[in-house]
Amino acid sequence: MFIILLVPVAVPLLLGAVALVRAASWVRRFSGVVSSVAILGSGIVAVVLGQGSAPLSSAGILRADALSAYMLAVVGAVGLVATWGGLAPRADAPVHTEAGRAPLGMYAALVCIFLSAMSLAVLADNLGVMWVAIEATTIATAFLVGHNRTRRSLEAAWKYVILAPAGVAIAFLGIVLIYASSTGTPTPTLSWLALTQMSLHLDPALVRVGAALAALGFATKAGLAPMHSWLPDAHSQAPAPVSALMSGVLLSVALYAILRIQAVANAVIGPDFLRALLVAGSLLSLAIAAALLLRQRDYKRMLAYSSIEHMGVMALGAAVGPTALPAVLLYILSHGLIKASLFILAGRLLTAEGTPIISDVRSLLARRPGLAVPWLIGIVALLGFPPFGIFFSEVGIILAGWATGMGVVMSVALALMLVIFAGMTRLTVGMMFGSADLPAPRVDSVLDRSPHGPIAPLALALGACAIIPFLSGPIGTVLSDAAVALSWTP
């Protein structure tokens, strides 16, 4: 069964290597899609195999319990939406259309390495390997963010590669301290399986500081305030498929790392300490997203700030604890699929309209229904309307929070979410309707029904988001199994 654990890490690496050295354009074009399918396939197999049986593991480095398997499937699913949706309309066109003077083989290879690193991060049974994999995602995405080689993308890439590794370095310091806490025991270890066992008697003082630093460091990658400042720049300047991957799933992989750290901390020092940290980060993220979404001018940045908001709500769910975890996991999947679809659409909109400024794109619904209709559905899902998954997740997290006695925190969060709801609605209405007579739209008044690229991945993603919450039988079991993997009741 080791093969299931190896495939999602090795296949993308292999494809990436081939894309880098071989000139065949179809390899470069489809390497990301095939990698995503491989990851999604092994994720689903691992989820199915994992039900009711012992977790898969291999050589003490890779291990897939219910949570890892679920996260692997999420990486694959969002990766598929991003890479398939990111294919250019015609076979002879470049892999993505926004620009691209950098060699396309390099682009394809980096996307594959990125996917492989995320798979490794969720499959690692070792805090150290998980850390290396998360740092590798930064390295793989650095040139992808700067891919367009404009002044703005260079600025975004510089901020990203200075701030994200500095943050993740702090997480490393935290992991060093957690490791140090285990050197007093007979078997020093970084395996989170071993660390969460009560019998190990870790040094609580070291674990407390270590967990705080590790959570703070990974929160940088998860885009939680106040370490979020790289996020809107990087996510708005990267090519669309890369933004879709970074916003849709990389943030969640970092959140997954925080959940693992939290499980270790909870086993040693109880839940209260990290809960306070997560609540603070979460409310601050919501406040910053609310403030900057109200007067946002750029639609890709709007999506980026919306990611900060949603990561904030997920972190709130993590703070609540086990009762909210199934909702958080459903949230990770729904947000990933929706945000990836929206970033893909934003990329096509940018190519079609030539401007990222909201006030310059008006009456899209009348002019470009092929792009505007899926965009509108995506924003409705993102704002948290039923029947989409985000609605059920948010309700689940807030109810669980009330039940845990965090009523005040939940009320504040709800108020901020309403402000964000109003702000994003206003911006979307401006883009969709608005008056076509304003000076902004250019002469191309011909009705444009084309979706400017494959529409199937977006339809599948948004459709899945609407259906999955109602599959309470199979999905409910998967989510609660995954949540149990983190539980700290011995």
Partner: protein, 225 residues
């Protein structure tokens, strides 16, 4: 190794590490900062050697070689390298010396304050430990904080990179002092990551020079809300 000799050697290398850390803050010249960073790499390697001898840990021998090669030689060389150096390029490097946001005196005061903060927050964690090495751990934390200080107060791309590497050296110092290093697999992974991040930032700083004319990070302010 007798206990007192061990303590003295630990103290000596920790002192060298802290001193070089302060030097990276104090120097305005990029080349001097990079030299201080190289010396710091050697001091870190010396620290690994002392810890290895004390713990009689054979696994630390490859780590010692790795630290010596990477942090003492390769990384400073990558930083100091200017692609396509020609005769006039040297002049330009000197022009690119730092005009930091804080003046040297303020920076030194800040570094001293950060040292005290590091001592105050770390001492309770290591006070109960019997090991002399763990008692020096506040030095590593101070290096991390000073690295951050360089990172946020410098405006040149390469100087920010020096800050990042000083920060990373600080984390490695804490790891070696407090737990005799991390598992060797992680040590190699982390070193590879640092090397790649450095190379990527070096490429970006070259692109920055081509695009903006110089490497003043403060010039990049188009992305605002």
């Amino acid at each position: 190794m007798s206990n007192s000799v061990f303590s003295e050697l630990i103290g000596l290398s920790a002192g060298a590490l802290l001193l070089t850390s302060v030097l990276t803050v104090w120097h305005r010249s990029q080349r001097a900062s990079i030299r201080a960073l190289a010396v710091q790499g050697f001091a870190l390697a010396a620290l690994v050697a002392v810890v290895a001898v004390d713990r009689k840990d054979v696994e630390l021998v490859p780590v010692f070689l790795l630290v010596l090669a990477l942090k003492g030689l390769v990384l400073p060389w990558v930083l100091a390298r200017r692609p396509g150096v020609v005769g006039t390029e040297r002049v330009r490097i000197d022009i690119e010396d730092e005009s930091p946001l804080l003046n040297p005196v303020a920076t030194l005061v800040a570094a001293a304050l950060l040292g005290m903060v590091a001592y105050a927050v770390t001492w309770p964690l290591v006070a109960s430990s019997p090991s002399a090495a763990a008692h020096a751990a506040p030095v590593g934390v101070a290096m991390v904080l000073i690295g951050f200080l360089v990172l946020v107060t410098r405006r040149r791309a390469i100087s920010q990179l020096v800050g990042f590497l000083a920060l990373d050296n600080g984390i490695a110092t804490v790891a070696f002092l407090i737990s005799g290093g991390v598992p060797i697999l992680l040590e190699f992974g982390a070193s590879l990551d640092v090397l790649l991040v450095t190379l990527i930032l070096q490429v970006f700083s070259r692109q920055m020079r081509a695009t903006f004319g110089d490497t003043d990070v403060g010039r990049m302010r188009e992305l605002r809300d």
